[in-house]
Amino acid sequence: MKSILNVLVLLTLLTFLITSCSRGVDRIETVKVEVKREPLNLEKPPIPKQEELNWIIINSENAEEVFKKLEEKGTDPVLFGLTDDEYEDLAVNFAQIRNYIIQQNFVIDKYKEYYESEETNGTD
């Protein structure tokens, strides 16, 4: 009788052991980490005031008159000269610099809009 009981106890333990050995389904663990990015929000630099420029055209005929006028105004009688072709080049260079500023501003505005707009603000 005692040996039967032992067998029964062993069988019970074996049953639990086998049941426990079967591997269950793994639980999926997902982790969400939100990283907030502060918008850079750099202010654009203030617009500098541009000084007015005044060109003086000088040729072989009016040179004396021009220098006389300069002296009358109390300005140093000296002029920094450009030829007509160089003047044209200067105008084109100036326009190219202006266009570059416009394009750069456009790019900065679009970057700001893309990365710091309301929908994307703070998250990335």
Partner: protein
């Protein structure tokens, strides 16, 4: 002997029943985990779909911005071409304009013209740097009213007629 066999059979049956019950409980637990997993997977799929939609939106924005930048570059190039035309315009008789000749012949008139143009060019740079347009600049529609150095940025209401 028969009694002992009966007892063993009853024992086996009991153990079998216990094992069966334990297995059912385990299945139930597995089922719950599977349901949970299914919900999580559905959520993940949903999130992925949102990410794909966002990526598509971003891609459209990038394409649109590139298009706008190309348009802007073209408009600015037109301003540059116009400036080049001003210096090298060909008149009705087929002679190319020479600002040097003109300045030599009429220095004071040309002086006035280039000083006005320089004032306009300086204003163009201010606008390029972000200076707001004046009412006069915004409303200018006639050629005589516009900033001829950079009408594309200074006079939004002006439509050039080529």
């Amino acid at each position: 002997m028969f009694g002992q066999l009966k007892l063993i059979l009853i024992g086996i049956m009991l153990i079998g029943a216990t094992g069966g019950i334990a297995y059912v409980y385990k299945l139930k637990a597995d089922n719950a985990v599977l349901k949970e997993n299914q919900i999580k997977l559905e959520e993940a799929v949903n999130e992925q779909q949102q990410v794909i939609a966002q990526q598509k939106e971003d891609f459209d924005k990038i394409l649109q911005t590139n298009k706008e930048l190309n348009n802007l570059t073209q408009v600015l190039q037109q301003d540059l071409d116009r400036l080049d035309d001003k210096f090298n315009k060909t008149n009705a008789s087929g002679k190319k304009r020479d600002i040097g000749d003109l300045a030599n012949a009429r220095p004071s008139s040309v002086e006035k013209i280039i000083n006005r143009a320089t004032g306009n060019a300086i204003r163009c740079v201010e606008i390029a740097m972000g200076s707001p347009l004046t009412e006069k600049e915004i409303n200018a529609t006639k050629k005589s009213e516009i900033n001829s150095e950079c009408p594309s940025i200074a006079n939004p209401s002006y439509v050039p007629h080529n």
